[in-house]
C-alpha cells in the first residue's frame, strides 16, 4: 500500500503552542508522526522585558486562560525569591486554594472535551454544567471567572471571609457527588472503555525518555508531581496522594484526571479548614536587585517552568516560560505512531491541549498527487463513524 502524508495543522489551535503534525499513513494506520512548532507566536517573553514586574504579572497571566494562576504563581515565586521577600503564610494558603480550584476547573473542562472527541456529547454538557460551580467559586473569591489575578507581588489581592468559605465548601461537596458519578462512568461504561482502552499507548520507559509531564506521565505509571517531589506554597502540609495508573493509554489518563479531582476536593477542604491567620500581603520595592531564579509548578497539565533574570531595575532582563504542553508533544508523536487516523483527535485531546478553534488537516495522496483538506470537525466525525462501524455508539445511551 502506498504511503500518504498528512500535514495536520499548522493552524492547530487545539494546542497551546500551535504546531504542525506530519502524519505518514499506510491505509488508515499512522506509521510515523513529526511535529513542527512556532506558529501562534505573540512575542510575550520579549514584551515582558519592556514592562514592570507588576505589569508583567497581568501579561503572564494571559499566557494561557486555563492555567492562568499556575503561570502567575510560578512567575511571582521567582520575583519574590529575587526580592528576598517573606510572603505571609495566609497568602500562600490562598494561592494554594485558588490553584486547586483551577485544577478542578481545568480537569472538568478536559473531561468534557474528551467526551466530545469520543462522540459522547452528553458527558460534555454534564461536565461543563458542573464546571460552572467552580467558576462561581473562583468568581466569589477573586471577582473574575477566568483570569482571577488573585496574586500580587508580596501576597494576594483579596482575603477570604467566613461566608465565602461555607459557600465554596457547599459547592465542592456537590461536585464531589458528581465526580463519583463520572468516575463510575469512566471505569464501567463499555462504550467509553472501547474508545479509550489501548488507544494512544505510552509505555513507562518511553514516557521517561520523552520527558512526559503531568497526568500524561502519571497515567504511564510515572509518579512525577512537583507538589510532592519539591513542595511549594503549602503543599508540604497537605495530605494528598499522587494518582498514577499503569494502563499507559487514554483510559489511564481519564482515570488519573478523574481521581485527581477527588484529591483536589480533599485539599480544598483542608486549606479552607486550616487557613492561617495574619496579613495577606507585604510591601515589595519596585526595583529588584540583580539575580536569577528558576521555579517550577504543577499546573493542571503538568510541570510549568519559569526562569527570571533581574538587573536591578523595575523591569526583568529576561523571562523564559516552558509550558507543560510543550513537554508532552514528543510523547504525542509516539502515541500516534501505529494508531488509527480515527484516534488522532482523541489522542491529541488526551494530553489536554485546548480545543479552541477550527483546525484543518490536509490529506496528501501521494498516488493521485492531490491534496484534500480535513477540518477538525470532519476528523472528529470520521473518528466517531469509524467506531460506530465497529459497534461503539454513544447515541444509544
Amino acid at each position: 500500500m502506498s504511503k500518504i502524508t498528512i500535514p495536520f495543522g499548522p493552524q492547530h489551535p487545539a494546542l497551546k503552542e500551535p504546531e504542525n503534525f506530519m502524519l505518514v499513513l499506510e491505509g488508515e494506520q499512522i506509521t510515523s508522526a513529526g511535529i513542527n512548532l512556532g506558529y501562534n507566536h505573540r512575542g510575550m517573553e520579549k514584551a515582558a522585558e519592556e514592562r514592570t514586574y507588576l505589569q508583567d504579572l497581568y501579561l503572564i497571566e494571559r499566557v494561557c486562560g486555563i492555567c492562568s494562576h499556575s503561570h502567575t504563581t510560578c512567575y511571582i515565586t521567582n520575583v519574590e525569591e529575587l526580592a528576598k521577600c517573606e510572603t505571609p503564610k495566609r497568602a500562600l494558603a490562598i494561592r494554594t486554594l485558588i490553584g486547586e480550584l483551577e485544577r478542578v476547573h481545568s480537569h472538568l473542562l478536559w473531561l468534557g472535551v474528551a467526551g466530545y472527541e469520543m462522540g459522547f456529547e452528553t458527558l460534555f454538557m454534564y461536565t461543563w454544567r458542573d464546571r460552572e460551580q467552580v467558576l462561581d467559586c473562583l468568581e466569589l473569591l477573586s471577582g473574575n471567572r477566568v483570569h482571577y489575578s488573585i496574586n500580587t507581588i508580596g501576597g494576594v489581592r483579596r482575603d477570604i471571609t467566613a461566608e465565602q468559605k461555607t459557600e465554596v465548601k457547599k459547592r465542592i461537596n456537590y461536585l464531589m457527588e458528581r465526580t463519583n458519578y463520572y468516575i463510575k462512568l469512566a471505569t464501567e461504561e463499555p462504550t467509553v472503555l472501547a474508545r479509550t482502552q489501548k488507544v494512544g499507548k505510552l509505555p513507562l520507559d518511553v514516557a521517561i525518555e520523552r520527558g512526559a509531564v503531568g497526568p500524561t506521565a502519571r497515567a504511564s505509571g510515572l509518579a512525577r508531581d512537583v507538589r510532592k517531589d519539591e513542595p511549594y506554597l503549602i503543599y508540604n502540609e497537605l495530605d494528598f496522594k499522587v494518582i498514577t495508573h499503569n494502563t499507559c493509554d487514554v483510559f489511564g489518563r481519564l482515570v488519573v484526571r478523574a481521581l485527581e479531582l477527588v484529591e483536589s476536593y480533599k485539599m480544598i477542604h483542608q486549606v479552607i479548614d486550616n487557613l492561617p491567620e495574619g496579613p495577606i500581603a507585604v510591601k515589595v520595592p519596585m526595583k529588584i536587585a540583580p539575580g536569577e531564579a528558576v521555579n517550577h509548578y504543577e499546573a493542571p497539565r503538568g510541570e510549568d517552568i519559569h526562569y527570571l533574570k533581574s538587573n536591578g531595575t523595575d523591569k526583568p532582563e529576561r523571562l523564559k516560560v516552558r509550558a507543560p504542553t510543550l513537554a508532552n508533544l514528543q510523547s504525542v508523536a509516539y502515541m500516534m505512531e501505529g494508531g488509527w487516523l480515527a484516534d488522532v483527535p482523541l489522542v491529541i485531546a488526551a494530553i489536554d491541549p485546548c480545543m479552541s478553534c477550527t483546525d484543518r488537516a490536509a490529506v496528501w495522496d501521494a498516488k493521485k498527487g492531490k491534496t484534500e483538506v480535513y477540518s477538525w470537525e470532519e476528523m472528529r466525525k470520521m473518528g466517531i463513524e469509524h467506531y460506530k462501524r465497529r459497534g461503539v455508539d454513544f447515541s444509544k445511551l
Binding site: N40, M44, A47, R62, W128, C357
Partner: protein, 145 residues
C-alpha cells in the same frame, strides 16, 4: 428587496450560525465562548448554533489579537463565508490588542485585518456579554431591513 434576500435576512435573524476562530487568543475568551453554548447560558435556545466550517457561517466570532501567522488564515476564512456576513471581535485583545499590544508577533485588533461589526470588551468577556453582543448585532440588522 428581492424575495431571496428577504428569505436570507429572515433566516439570519431567526437563527444566526456562528463560526469561532482563535487568532492567537490566550484561550480565556475561547472557553467563555464555549461556556455560552453549554447548559448554564445556552445560547442555542436563541437559535445560535456553532458551526465548524466558514461556508455555513453568518457570523465570524474572532478572539485574540491576530498574530502575524494567523492574519492570512483569518482573511481566507472570512473570504470563504457567504454574504451577508458579520464579524464579531471578542475580548480586549480582539478589540485593540489588549495586553498584547506592542508584542512583535501581533497585528493588534481584528479591525486591522477585517471589517468588524461588533466589539465585545472584557478580558475575558463574560458569556452574558457575548449573548448581548449577538443580540445587538441582530437588532442592528433588523433596523436596516
Amino acid at each position: 428587496m428581492k424575495i431571496i434576500d428577504k428569505l436570507i435576512t429572515w433566516s439570519l435573524l431567526k437563527s444566526p450560525w456562528i463560526l469561532h476562530f482563535n487568532s492567537g487568543a490566550c484561550n480565556g475568551c475561547d472557553i467563555e465562548i464555549v461556556d455560552a453554548l453549554t447548559p448554564k447560558y445556552d445560547v442555542e435556545r436563541f437559535g445560535i448554533v456553532l458551526k465548524a466550517t466558514p461556508r455555513h457561517a453568518d457570523i465570524l466570532v474572532v478572539s485574540g489579537p491576530v498574530t502575524r501567522q494567523q492574519a492570512k488564515r483569518l482573511k481566507t476564512i472570512y473570504e470563504q463565508m457567504p454574504e451577508p456576513k458579520f464579524v464579531m471581535a471578542v475580548g480586549a485583545c480582539g478589540c485593540s490588542g489588549g495586553v498584547f499590544n506592542g508584542c512583535y508577533g501581533v497585528i493588534p485588533g481584528v479591525h486591522q485585518t477585517l471589517p468588524v461589526s461588533v466589539y465585545i470588551p472584557g478580558c475575558p468577556v463574560r458569556p452574558e456579554a457575548i449573548i448581548d453582543g449577538v443580540v445587538k448585532l441582530i437588532q442592528s440588522v433588523e433596523g436596516k431591513k
